[in-house]
Amino acid sequence: MDAPLYGPQGLVDSVTLVLLIVAIEQKIEESLQVTIVLGDYAAGLGEYNPFKNIKTLCEHIAVLINSGNYAA
């Protein structure tokens, strides 16, 4: 869960990250019928990097879903 995903020493490159983001967004749409936007965070990664590792990504997705910050 803590293995680096994207960023310095990350396991995935930018193209793979985009594929991953879209796959996650699609899966959540299918399973929960909600649309979240993960992609925005990929464009300008500042101090907060939800794609740092699997753990931060899961936490970030949970926050997006629980905050209701999505298009139903």
């Binding site: 930018s14 193209v15 985009v18 594929l19 983001i21 879209v22 967004e25 992609g39």
Partner: protein, 565 residues
């Protein structure tokens, strides 16, 4: 280890995902693939020919979005009027660039155009109006297909099929906006599979034979227990209809040159009764080039059948509903392709039609007659079994060989033979039509094409021999004979032709260097034992044209006059 196939992917969008599918370690071939600089349109390659590099390429894939290479299509998408002439003229520029660029690679694959499923255009009148999105797309794709069909080493691949299989997710705009990737990973996976299958076909790796189990594979039920009357085959029954459709699909493939055979654990007379008596059976006994229906181990039966048909494991596909039998064959005969097979017979036809192993790079008249030719071969073998001696059998066949030069007419079939033949093949060199023609036109090179016919039937164009002259010596470059006809002294007649032609050219010494592969041992056996050669080293053989070699009896040789290519 076979060398890697070198490829170049040219596109105006991000193709990293497609490239990643060429680095799969599980592939039987390995690839060295690179991507052209981002945003590359084939139309503009003339300004940057360096993209092809200096090393010869085995294949190029051109995958350009329609709006990138047909600018007026963008206007069509904006519902503006565009004349048909303007559209086709832009398409012609694209085609002309492909024609020119195709010389940089042995095989050239162009992906046709498709629109995302959510592009509705005019709706119900979209296909009625010439400026309808789908109408214009169909027009352009048809024009592209017609024009590219004239370039022998260019193959058009269908992207619609990939998009259709992947479905709604095929074109996700999110991928485009974030990474300039127009398609889902599934689309690229299918594209890579099709490109690999096409390369396999071009390089002679297409499968030729389907070996089938019977019970619960060709029909529902166990014929030995249920009797032919109670099998599920045809009729008003979902299972029965599906089995009949599967047989129809097999029969249609047989018509395009794929051979059918049976290996089944059954009692032969009871199993064969189905083909004679069942009112809804589609396949007949005469559709199968051979069968082994008995209680022996299937590995032994398949090996025996392949030997009878003069085919290698790599030519065969084995279809059986039993996972245990499949695993056994997969393990004992690793060259045979054993596709994983669904347990649901309603999906058999889909599973069969989805196999890419029969993809072919060329269709000839001979392909369509192949099954018939194998049946003729069976008749020859039974005649052989009855004949008192080999000589009497050969004499009874009344074989005629027609020798002709390589021409533009026989070039496609000759190239197909050159690229498909594995066993009786001296050097196993693979060339596309353009390369073969160019090679044959060198003044120091000579090529002969052989057609074989006997009283059982016409075996068609089945042999190629060539040599390269160097002063008073010549080196055999190709010595190729279809597995359907070798063993009938045709190969001896071919060798005689080479020696005779060498003499005519005042060549004193003819040599042949055997290049070993996993499959061409029959060629080495012929060179070592049956053609009067002098062995210079393990793999080098020599013929002194001043010497008299024993003439082939029983074969009439006809020569077609040389004419210009």
């Amino acid at each position: 280890m076979p060398r890697k196939l070198s490829g170049l992917l040219i596109s105006d969008f991000t193709l990293d995902v497609l490239k990643s599918f060429f680095s799969n370690q599980m592939d039987s071939s390995s690839y060295d693939v690179r991507i052209s600089p981002f945003g590359q349109k084939i139309n503009s390659f003339r300004h940057s020919p360096h993209i092809f590099g200096t090393e010869p390429l085995d294949f190029v894939v051109v995958w350009n979005q329609i709006t990138a290479v047909i600018p007026s299509f963008q206007r069509i998408l904006c519902f503006e009027e565009v004349s048909q002439q303007e559209l086709l003229s832009e398409c012609d520029q694209f085609i002309s660039a492909i024609k020119e660029a195709s010389t940089f690679s042995r095989y050239f694959f162009v992906v046709n155009w498709a629109l995302p499923g959510y592009f509705r255009g005019y709706g119900p009148v979209d296909l009625r109006k010439s400026n309808g999105w789908q109408h214009a797309l169909l027009t352009l794709n048809k024009h592209l297909a017609q024009e590219l069909a004239h370039i022998p080493n260019v193959y058009l691949l269908s992207s619609e099929r990939w998009l259709q299989i992947v479905g709604e997710k095929a074109c996700d705009p999110r991928l485009w906006y974030m990474s300039k990737i127009p398609y889902d990973m599934g689309v690229f996976k299918l594209a890579a599979e099709d490109i690999k299958a096409a390369l396999r076909a071009c390089l002679g790796g297409s499968r030729k034979l389907v070996i089938l189990d019977l019970d619960d594979t060709l029909w529902g039920g166990i014929v030995g227990d249920d009797g032919w009357q109670n099998l599920r085959l045809g009729g008003h029954d979902a299972q029965g209809e599906a089995y009949a459709d599967f047989q129809r699909a097999l029969k249609s493939y047989q018509k395009r040159g794929v051979l059918l055979a049976i290996v089944s654990k059954n009692q032969e007379n009871i199993a064969l009764e189905v083909f004679d008596r069942h009112p809804e059976v589609i396949l007949k006994k005469s559709d199968f080039v051979g069968w082994r229906i008995n209680w022996k181990d299937k590995t032994e039966n398949i090996t025996d059948l392949l030997k009878e048909l003069n085919l290698t494991q790599e030519a065969a596909v084995y279809i059986d509903n039993s996972p245990i039998e499949r695993a056994r064959i997969q393990e004992s005969l690793p060259g045979v392709l054993v596709p994983s097979w669904t347990q649901n017979s309603l999906l058999y036809t889909k599973a069969f039609l989805s196999l890419s192993c029969f993809d072919t790079a060329f269709v000839s008249d001979d392909d369509q007659k192949r099954s018939q030719m194998y049946l003729q071969e069976k008749d020859r073998s039974s005649l052989r079994a009855k004949a008192p001696s080999m000589d009497e059998w050969l004499s009874s066949l009344n074989t005629t060989i027609t020798i002709e030069p390589l021409t533009t007419t026989n070039l496609p079939r000759a190239t197909q033979l050159l690229n498909k033949t594995n066993q009786m093949n001296l050097t196993t060199r693979r060339l596309n039509e353009g390369e073969f023609l160019k090679w044959s036109q060198d003044p120091s090179h000579r090529v002969w094409i052989f057609r074989v016919e006997d009283k059982m039937g016409d075996s068609g164009l089945t042999g190629i021999a060539s040599f390269a002259c160097n002063g008073q010596e010549a080196k055999i470059i190709d010595f190729i004979l279809s597995c359907r006809v070798f063993g009938r002294q045709i190969e001896n007649a071919m060798m005689e032709t080479l020696i005779r032609e060498a003499k005519k050219l005042k060549i004193q010494k003819l040599t042949g260097v055997y290049l070993p592969t996993e499959k061409n041992i029959p060629c080495l056996e012929f060179l070592s034992e049956r053609c009067g050669s002098t062995k210079i080293s393990d793999h080098t053989f020599m013929w002194d044209t001043k010497k008299d070699y024993p003439r082939t009896r029983f074969i009439t040789v006809k020569e077609v006059e040389t004419f210009n290519l």
